[in-house]
Amino acid sequence: MTRIGINFDRRLILLLAALTGAIVAIIGIHIIRNQRVADVLAVIDITGSMNTRDMGNPPGSLDRLEAVRQSLIGMMQDIPCQSRLGLGVFSERRSFLLLNPVEICSNYDALEGAISGLDWRMAWQGDSYVAKGLYSALDIAASLKSDLIFFTDGHEAPPLPFTGVPEFEGKPGAVKGLIAGVGGSEKTPIPKFDDEGRQVGVYNQSDVPQENRIGAAPKDAETREGYNPRNAPWGALEAAGDEQLSSVKTAHLQDLASRTGLSYVGLQKAGAIAPKLLSSSEPRIVPISTDMAYVPALFALLSILAVYALQFVERAPMRRSPRPARPL
């Protein structure tokens, strides 16, 4: 077809298509994609038992706190940008918020520094009421409207009273998230430090309370040797036990997880926790605008290549010519 002397042939149409594609690519096509992100408060147990060296590969190469730090930093690399991470620590009987959740990618450096700065020396008291700490961490996470990962070995010090785990008063499942059990399954001695922070051996049996002697005595106390209702309500003997050794208390933590509606993950076995976190936390979707300009650009590229390729398809008009005619 020829009009006003212009050939409307395949080449012209392909060139027009390529130009249109390039112009569309300049304008850009933005597709709003929904990205699943996490908004999570990580609360880390910094009580004494977290210094136990039974983590890492081979087991014993890392102490529990170091393993938690590494796994948190690894998690930050695994979850998508726009996710937010906050930090808190647990000691004694409550959790303490250090940092509200903050976007991970733009603050990566500082967050990594903050995680590396977590230390057992930040603990304000030696007790370790894990259940109460978890409940207060849930309160904080609820006030921040974020999910929770609670890293702990589940080692209660002093041990739980005979009445068992304190009641959870909140609504189970109101805050979603994970309890990450830290530690090996073997009982391992807990390092002991002096006031200056130097290790001075390990805890022995008489250093730690072996039985919870706060509150009422258990019912079977009457049968114990030397029992006296006023002077020796728990019996006259020292409590025996192996509370000076620590291992991850999986059953206790799973029980806490089912009471509070969280999921449980064993850190030593799981390795990376990001997939577990994303599957168990509140699905938070943020729209992320993705530029799809490469699609029309690819179309334009194919079109312009086709223009050149046409020369192979079209046979040269003069078969007899030894050389194909060159374009002007």
Binding site: F8, L12, L98, P101, N107, Y294, Y308, A316
Partner: protein
């Protein structure tokens, strides 16, 4: 120069195609030998080849996501590296009158939070770190130029606090954060506390040695509860003048004896905090080399612009194309 989708660069050899092939329709002509090679035709032929190459190159680079990488540029400004050392003992949650805050009154920590956040936002070139202390010192955020994370850390300071106030070890934490920071510039610690305790002899000595090693400007913002002792007041003759009886006064004396630039502010209200912070802001105006991050810049749009212009040129050439055969004789190829 970086590429977000570098695999597309494998297509780059395709850009050589216009050197071998043309976009114009081929015409049969018995012999070209009779034509003088004229300069204009040669120039046009090369221009079309180059335009074709530019079009293909532009499209491929655009698809590959060509971009300039994020850079840090050193600049000069006025400012400092500041560690905010915040008391998080339980008394910080009370009002300046020492009561539980009612709806009308702010607690000391929330007043401090509000004003410190304003200060951080205002100070463009400063780098901030945050440490908290109570019974034990707590490392919160290392010295950083990211303002969001510092603001979020300050946001957490009006949460319920802990029991005691160990200023000495808190200062030790602040100093160690300053040691870790390698960039040049003036350094300051802003200590925000509402009550003090005695610093033990050994911690005092350690602090003295640390402060002597590295000069740090120290600002002590004492949020005084109504009726509490002032740190500037000298006790009446006959009254006990020991660190145990008057810890504020003796802490102030200890800081004065450190031979570092030191200023103390006593604030009994939010306005007084504001004035003190403004004063600190004025003092911390030393010249500073700071780095500014220039974010990654996407060039793919410009690559598409080049491609579109080249394609436009090819199209114009195509529109100028005329056949040498008479119209109607030849069918469109």
């Amino acid at each position: 120069m970086i590429f977000t989708n570098p695999i597309a660069l494998l297509l780059l050899p395709l850009a050589l195609l216009p050197l071998l092939l043309g976009t114009q329709r081929q015409e049969a002509y018995p012999s070209l030998a009779g034509f003088e090679p004229d300069g204009l035709s040669v120039a046009i032929a090369w221009a079309l080849r180059i335009a074709g190459m530019a079009a293909i190159l532009g499209l491929i680079l655009g698809i590959a996501g060509i971009a300039v990488r994020e850079r840090s540029v050193e600049r000069f400004g006025q400012g400092a590296h500041i560690v905010l050392l915040i008391d998080r003992s339980a008394s910080m949650n009370d009002t300046f009158a020492g009561r539980q805050p009612s709806g009308e009154e702010e607690s000391k920590s929330s007043a401090a939070k509000r004003l410190i956040k304003d200060f951080i936002v205002e100070r463009e070139h400063d780098r901030f770190g945050v440490a908290a202390f109570s019974t034990a010192p707590m490392h919160v955020v290392p010295i950083t130029d990211r303002k969001d994370i510092v603001l979020e850390a300050i946001d957490a300071i009006d949460r319920p606090g802990l029991a005691f106030t160990d200023v000495g070890r808190g200062l030790g934490m602040g100093l160690s954060m300053i040691q870790e920071d390698v960039l040049q510039g003036s350094r300051a610690i802003i200590l925000v506390s509402d009550g003090v305790a005695v610093i033990g002899r050994r911690v005092q000595e350690a602090l003295r040695a640390e402060f002597a090693r590295r000069p740090v400007n120290l600002y002590f913002l004492y949020l005084r509860t109504e009726g509490a002792n002032s740190m500037f007041a000298t006790p009446p003759p006959g009254a006990e003048d020991t660190p145990q009886a008057l810890p504020e006064r003796h802490l102030n004396k200890f800081f004065q004896s450190l031979r570092i630039p030191y200023r103390a502010y006593e604030a009994e209200s939010a306005e007084a905090i504001k004035a003190a912070i403004a004063d600190i802001g004025k003092l911390e105006q030393t010249p500073l080399v700071y780095t500014e991050r220039i974010p990654q810049y996407d060039l793919s749009r410009w690559a598409y612009v080049v491609a579109a212009l080249s394609l436009g040129l090819l199209l114009v050439a195509k529109l100028c194309e005329r056949t040498i055969k008479r119209a109607g004789v030849i069918h469109a190829a």
